[in-house]
């Protein structure tokens, strides 16, 4: 099946004189309906990579194909109908004076007739559970609520792909959970392809595949289980250690043998239970 996003040999420099390129020979493909997490330390190029997919940044060389169309300067606007993006700062992407105005912004840009806008705005707000806040001003919303409105703004345009560019970094734990569960729900309902750039291990754990960036290069790829078994290297990749890994380290320090492979919390609980009490 043809991938919905395909990157081939992407190079990118913010300034031509830059010593090290922001992106160096990056290639990968994403199938429709996948949830891809892109992780990496600060400055690894993950955000830059995200911005090439919807043409906010144009690569110096290489090709990007979205939905079968190869991205160039002229069809960038068509591509943007297929790819919605939620940014890191909840305030700095909120254009409208009220919640419903902001959701309508993207629709207005596409020249959607007003009657249809009314339907789509209401629909999108219901999907993110912000419909009772339709006339609320942004200054009176929490970070998590603002991000959900941003998601509604994307959903109203009915794209195939949604990119979350560190969309949960500036939120408190509650806000983060709101946003992640909203994305999960919407992905299931509409079979969206999700690309999330993140530092949050709980967010990354939802992915089908994780891509690891380091200094502009794609250095690793795998399922969450495969990537999370990297142990202490995870910190360099910009993630925190999952708790079972931290516990394993603490147990090892105390002379207890622990299984090498990655264990989820549930499996760790099971292993401990059988090892400690049922011998």
């Amino acid at each position: 099946m043809q991938p919905i996003i395909e990157l081939k040999n992407i190079d990118f420099n913010y300034q031509p004189e830059d010593a090290s390129p922001a992106l160096k020979d990056v290639s990968f493909s994403i199938q429709q309906g996948e949830w891809i997490a892109i992780i990496g330390h600060n400055g690894s190029g993950k955000s830059t990579l995200a911005k090439t997919i919807n043409g906010l940044l144009l690569p110096a060389s290489g090709s990007i194909a979205v939905g079968g169309k190869e991205l160039n300067e002229t069809n960038v606007w068509d591509i943007r109908r297929m790819v919605g993006m939620v940014f890191q700062n909840p305030d700095n992407q909120f254009v409208g004076s009220t919640v419903e105005d902001d959701v309508a912004f993207g629709l207005e840009n596409q020249g959607i007739p007003r009657e249809e806008m009314l339907v789509r705005v209401k629909d999108a707000l219901e999907k993110v559970r912000m419909d009772s806040f339709a006339t609320r001003e942004p200054a009176r919303l929490s970070g998590g609520q603002k991000q959900r409105v941003a998601i509604a703004g994307v959903v109203a345009l009915r794209p195939d792909i949604i990119i979350l560019d560190e969309a949960t970094s500036m939120l408190d734990p509650e806000g983060r959970e709101e946003v992640i569960s909203t994305i999960k729900k919407i992905k299931e309902e509409s079979n969206l392809t999700v690309i999330s750039i993140t530092h949050d291990i709980d967010e990354a754990a939802n992915a089908n595949r994780i891509l690891v960036m380091k200094q502009g290069e794609l250095v690793g790829e795998g399922t969450p289980a495969e990537i999370f078994s990297a142990g202490t290297d995870l910190i360099q990749m910009g993630l925190d250690l999952p708790f079972p890994e931290k516990l394993k380290i603490a147990l090892k320090k105390r002379g207890i043998d622990v299984p090498k492979e990655y264990l989820t919390e549930e499996r760790m609980v099971d292993w401990l239970w059988t090892s400690v009490l049922n011998k």
Binding site: N54, L56, W77, R80, R81, G84, M85, F87, N89, D91, N92, Q93, F94, V95, G96, S97, E100, D101, A104, F105, G106, L107, E108, N109, Q110, G111, I112, P113, R114, M117, L118, V121, E137, P138, A139, R140, G153, L157
Partner: protein, 264 residues
């Protein structure tokens, strides 16, 4: 925490509140124009009754309107005094050097006072009953004819609405920066004028820098959301003109006729 009601808008459901903002805007400017038709006590009485009736319809306490006069009270009294002490005509009540207090002088003084008050009351009525965003929508609509002259109506309107949206956010940010700098020993209220001006630097620079960053982020987000300028855009917010708006326009026309009849 946002305690200020920006633009002094007071929410409500009155006849005036629910009028189309375009009608209110046009009516306010028109009123300021026809007020110059009045030149005797009958015409001023007419205007005063009209204004007080409008205030009554807004269901807002007159206290708020009187508050609108306070900042300008000295200017008003000064102008009135000038009129009263320098106008010649009619019976002379008092004379002292260059100052003459005459019948005409007193009349003119009172009329000027009335004019000031009525203009302030009418404009206050506009801002008390119309949210800033509605005013911005009204301005955009009324400026539309200027598109013919290549005036960037849509861009100006978008700038205005984005600026309004960010006012509460910027106010919060100002408070946060002030607190942070006060915690570093800055005193915003103290000292002479030079010191007070210096104290503003650690507040203004961070605000400017953060605003530039915001603008850049916002532009990127707008581009990602398909914004390409005003062409081909539809509008979500629309204004509704109702029968009562036409009625109000007619009432102003009637007022104009009456003023013309009554003036001397």
């Amino acid at each position: 925490m946002n305690k200020l009601i920006f633009g002094r808008y007071i929410p409500g459901n009155s006849f005036i509140h629910t009028m189309d903002p375009r009608a209110k805007l046009v009516a306010s400017f028109y009123f300021i124009g026809i007020i110059f038709l009045a030149n005797n006590w009958q015409t001023y009485a007419m205007l005063t009754i009209f204004t007080l009736f409008a205030i009554f319809l807004s269901k807002i306490n007159i206290r708020f309107f009187i508050r609108g006069i306070k900042p300008l009270i000295w200017l008003i009294l000064f102008t009135v005094a000038l009129q009263m002490l320098f106008t010649q005509g009619g019976e002379v009540y008092f004379k002292w050097g260059i100052f003459t207090l005459t019948e005409f002088g007193i009349m003119n003084g009172l009329m000027i006072f009335c004019r000031f008050v009525l203009i302030i009351f009418m404009s206050t009525l506009l801002t008390l009953t119309t949210p800033p965003l509605d005013l911005s929508d009204a301005i955009e609509y009324l400026l539309r004819p200027l598109k013919v002259l290549r005036f960037p109506v849509h861009e100006v309107s978008l700038m205005l609405s984005i600026a309004l949206r960010f006012v509460p956010t910027l106010m919060d940010e100002t408070e946060k920066i002030m607190n942070a700098q006060r915690a570093r020993g800055v005193d915003f209220g103290e000292g002479n004028l030079i010191q007070k001006m210096k104290a503003v630097v650690p507040l203004l620079i961070p605000l400017f820098v953060s605003s530039f960053n915001r603008a850049e982020d916002l532009a990127t987000a707008m581009e990602a959301r398909g914004y390409q300028g005003g062409d081909g855009r539809t509008k979500y917010r629309i204004l509704h003109w109702h029968v009562k708006d036409t009625a109000v326009m007619l009432a102003f026309a009637a007022l104009t006729a009456v003023l013309i009849l009554l003036r001397s």
